[in-house]
Homo-oligomer: 130 residues x 2
DNA sequence: CATCCAGTGCTAAAAATTTAGCATATGCGA
DNA sequence: TCGCATATGCTAAATTTTTAGCACTGGATG
């Protein structure tokens, strides 16, 4: 099914719109428009949402008299391949390198409690990985 | 300068080519061609490499009688924003969620030594973060 | 020598993407 | 009621992207 198709095969604008939808979880066309870099007009966004729906990447639900769009594939199901792709492309597939970069990126936001949780994740992986 | 421009503003094929180049570090046009999903012809790849060079994303060096292309921005300088983007788009900006997904992705490849190194990274972050 | 193969520079056409605009509908406020 | 703002369905044109093809070069081979 088309919904299984990688985000990486989408065109530039399609991809930007999918990213807005994944970030927000769901959004109306006008909300998508507000959050697009270098935004086109409203009808351009709607046309692209329709295309994405035709492609099976997006679905909409009527909310009163307007449509709310959301990705058809869950965040988890889409986020993993995206993360794996970045890992492979920029980090030699190395979790260590990626975690190092992650820690660096998040440096100013991570509390001790956060770091404890990360340590716990690693311990868990250690227990489960065998 | 254009080289600072985000990979996210590239078109579909341009982006695919940049990903090949980041993955391989450097490549000739024919090597890029081999590694592209749903590859076009050789001259199509060369035309796109020239466009990417015009845009400042790529440079080439003559290697004998052929050109070897590489990204102008380093892997580190390009990989961080890419990782940050995935973090924000799919993981609410949460390092914890991303690490959990990373560990899951890498589950079958991580040795105890790898996990030790990840733990060390976290300890380092703990010491440096304050 | 001629031929073949792999390469480059360049162009322009084919294809895909992006965009805006029209007709229509609905809801709200004056 | 009317006017305005926001919405949808739809189309097609504008724009960008992608592609292939031509002319040429250089090296290797028979």
């Amino acid at each position: 099914m088309a919904a299984k198709k990688a985000l990486s095969s989408l065109s530039r604008r399609e991809r930007q719109i999918m990213e807005v939808l994944y970030r927000e979880g769901r959004a109306t066309a006008s909300e998508v428009l507000e959050r697009l870099p270098d935004p086109p007009g409203y009808s351009a966004v709607r046309a692209l949402l329709r295309i994405l729906e035709d492609k099976g990447q997006v679905r909409h639900a009527a909310d009163g008299n307007r449509y709310v769009y959301e990705p058809r594939l869950s965040r988890d199901r889409a986020g993993r391949p995206a993360l794996a792709g970045v890992l492979e492309t920029f980090f030699d597939g190395s979790a260590e390198k990626a975690v190092a970069a992650l820690l660096d990126l998040s440096r100013h936001e991570l509390t001790d409690a956060d770091l404890d949780r990360l340590s716990d994740l690693i311990e868990q992986a250690r227990l489960e990985g065998r």
